[in-house]
Symmetry: C3
Subunit: 346 residues, 3 copies
């Protein structure tokens, strides 16, 4: 493998920053302040990391003008070191290349259309009438069903599954073991058992969406399940049928969203939350980790539920009291009345 | 693709209903009241949707006799519109066909037996001594281990994994990235570390079971893990080793069931619940979303745990009080005694 | 299939025990006390199972010396029947064999190195510069990325995905649909949207680690995500980028660990727990099921959160009271002051 290297001058150009130090200093990688060595570029994002900056052996640092004096190494002065770092990570990413062509072991349906600039890896299977646009990457052993459409620049990692009728916008990234378009969980009660409702909708995903490993997005019952532009979904998320997630919302791992719920735009949901079906969450809301959301959130804000960690021994006692809470509240009310009476007498 | 179309007369015959309108009216699809257009059939399930019915441009509607007058379009009169709709979805399902045969890229062990009426898709791998009965569909890149048995009409979607010794009844549906038969989580403590216990049981699944995407059902330690007839499991569910799930129970996404627990018949569990190991849940019970079940549920009923969503600012204060709850209860008791004393004096 | 059979004498030798009964008695399998038949060996782990022991039709039993009298069948006397049983399961495991060689359908990169004693199953894909050491098993349709290293004796089941730059120690077991090395969930806020941070670290796994089905371990942002020797991860676990899990910690299914958190050594975490990012959990701690851990655990001990299951009707009332808990505490305080005043007057 060839090492990637850039001069500080090149780094400054990429980030819209200015070099304070040797512009020809050669950077061969990015690293945290703690682990960076000579030749590596780190970033300083605030006083919380001051000691790490002082102790760091980094060759250079991304830093803003006011803090520059804190660092003794070469620097690239930028307004927002974190944003500059985000941009630079792509320069050093060894995992994003594209080698156009279809691996001979791939199985592509006759009626499918695959761009000549796409890379289709080993053992990929693509179904009838699907369309793979320019510059797509489809990782090994991934399966794309029938009538799917992938916009340009999509990146499906290995072992992804798209069922039939899944449409992706441009530059969508999907991680391994993710599943888009499986049947929604729809059954009609029927003679003490469950009668399956065929799921006739599809899944429609906008541009610049990222979908994590083992995340599942079910197809709609009649209409489509919709993931709008710029949505970021972490791993192990469950999106039920006919859910709609608005633009630029970001959802952390292990969260589940039940069917037909509408998540607004710019919503952030932390990990392990559970969102009931048939409700809506207002734009710009924040839902904290493991929160249980059983009704609509109509006003933007930060919302939470659950109890805090404590030693199991004391927790056990408090948990018992929780089950008596309504009765405890009644007893307090009674006490208040008695006190009132006593005060009235005196 | 050819469009599927049915006359209202045909729809009525399929659903045991009666046409009120033009029996030759041609229906080309199903749709919700909100999105249905001319030529599409919708359903009306109750007064909650009355305004949608009034506003709908659907060509026809499934509706019961009492409500018929509310709809101005053609109608098929049925007793239970939702059940009728469930049945009709299968008429319009483009994703359920079967093209018998084995794709040349599939790798089938010599000793495996595959029915001539089964469809084995690209890159499927089937292990020694496994049996695939009539009318099974095995999706692309799915792996079936050794000594597995699939009853007739099973449908395994793409990228499913069956380990060795998994037995499925008839008409079992398994969605992508699901895993049946992985090792149960069994270790014996041994010199400050963990000694693996080989998992010698298998997984046995009854008829008409559906298993969602990324759901995992572990093999038994010695005996089998058992999923009985008609059970419906949503996505991302974890079923531990030696769990038994009784007939027609339905479990929503992201629920976890720890080892050796017995779920009764006709139990319904909402999403994200956690069920401890070595307990049992009574037939016909209902467990609400994200509930934590640490002991057996011996009597049918509806059970819940957790706290409700609230603004994070007030939640923080209440959470602190939860940890003082036992002490608060003690203080209330003390107050009650003091009041009693005061009342005694007066 | 040939049956595996061992004499009690052989069993005793394998477990360091002593036969009390016929040393030539032939054992053909292991079974629970409840299901064991003649010819099968069971285990007795304590008085909780006494009635099962008395009723058992097992041919022989693993039991300790003090309890021997309780059993009427042949016995192998051992100090720790459970540990002896753990060891014996491997004798009877039909699923652990190895047939060295590379299946012709596997796609192995030119620069990859695969030991002659490894078994590479059908449709496996191995990327450039990866190294597969002796006695590894790579199950069907599993994908190993570029620059991966597998130590000797690793066992990857079917449909596993290793991204680029994943390093495994020796004897690591990974179950199906698990994903190691997917991108961490890292984005910089940028003009009302999210700018992806390329994830440049890898995943490093120690020796004797087991990773469950559908478990995901993300690659590090800059440094690696680290799973130390002897760690056992159940199914459907999410390990965020740059997490470190210390030696011999065991984590049950459906637990999520957010980025950069450090789990100590010998930590046990029950199922469905949620661990926030950027915190640390002390060595030897125990976190109970579905616990929400939002801050560091600095002292070993048992920790919990959440509320207990109760009938939904009463739960609803208590949940309402939880949201009034801070105000209730205020009212109790007020009452205490009033009582004090009243007592002062009398």
């Amino acid at each position: 493998m060839t090492e990637r290297a850039f001069t500080l001058q090149q780094i400054a150009e990429q980030t819209g920053g200015q070099v304070d130090g040797d512009p020809q200093y050669r950077v061969t990688g990015l690293a945290t302040l703690e682990s960076a060595e000579a030749g590596q570029l780190s970033l300083y994002t605030g006083s919380r990391y001051l000691q790490q900056l002082v102790d760091s052996t980094a060759g250079a640092v991304l830093i803003n003008a006011e803090e520059r004096a804190q660092a003794s190494c070469h620097a690239v002065i930028v307004d927002d070191p974190y944003a500059a770092y985000a941009r630079l990570t792509h320069l050093f990413d060894r995992n994003s290349g594209l080698a156009a062509g279809i691996h001979p072991s791939a199985v592509i349906a006759e009626s499918a259309s695959v761009s000549e600039t796409a890379q289709i890896c080993a053992n990929v299977v693509i179904g009838e009438n699907s369309v793979i646009a320019d510059d797509c990457y489809i990782g090994a052993n991934t399966v794309v069903g029938e009538r799917c459409q992938l916009g340009s620049g999509c990146r499906l990692h290995a072992n992804v599954t798209l069922y039939n009728d899944v449409r992706l916008g441009e530059r969508v990234i999907i991680h391994s073991s993710a599943v888009l378009g499986a049947d929604g969980f729809g059954f009609a009660p029927w003679k003490e058992s469950w009668f399956k409702i065929a799921q006739l909708g599809g899944v429609v995903v906008g541009d610049d969406v990222e979908i994590g490993a083992c995340t599942t997005i079910d197809r709609g019952a009649l209409d489509n399940t919709l993931i709008d532009n710029g949505v970021k979904l972490d791993n192990q998320i469950m999106v039920g049928h006919n859910v709609e997630i608005g633009e630029h919302s970001a959802i952390a791992a292990c969260t589940g969203i039940a069917g037909s719920t509408r998540i607004g735009k710019h919503v952030r949901i932390a990990g392990g939350a559970g969102i009931a079906g048939h409700i809506s969450i207002a734009d710009h809301s924040y839902i904290s980790g493991m929160a249980m959301v059983t009704g609509s959130v109509r006003k933007a804000g930060s919302y939470s539920s659950g109890t805090a960690l404590e030693p199991t021994a004391t927790w056990r006692r408090n948990v018992v009291r929780f089950r008596q809470l309504d009765s405890l509240a009644g007893r307090v009310k009674e006490l208040e009345q008695k006190i009132k009476e006593i005060e009235g007498h005196s």
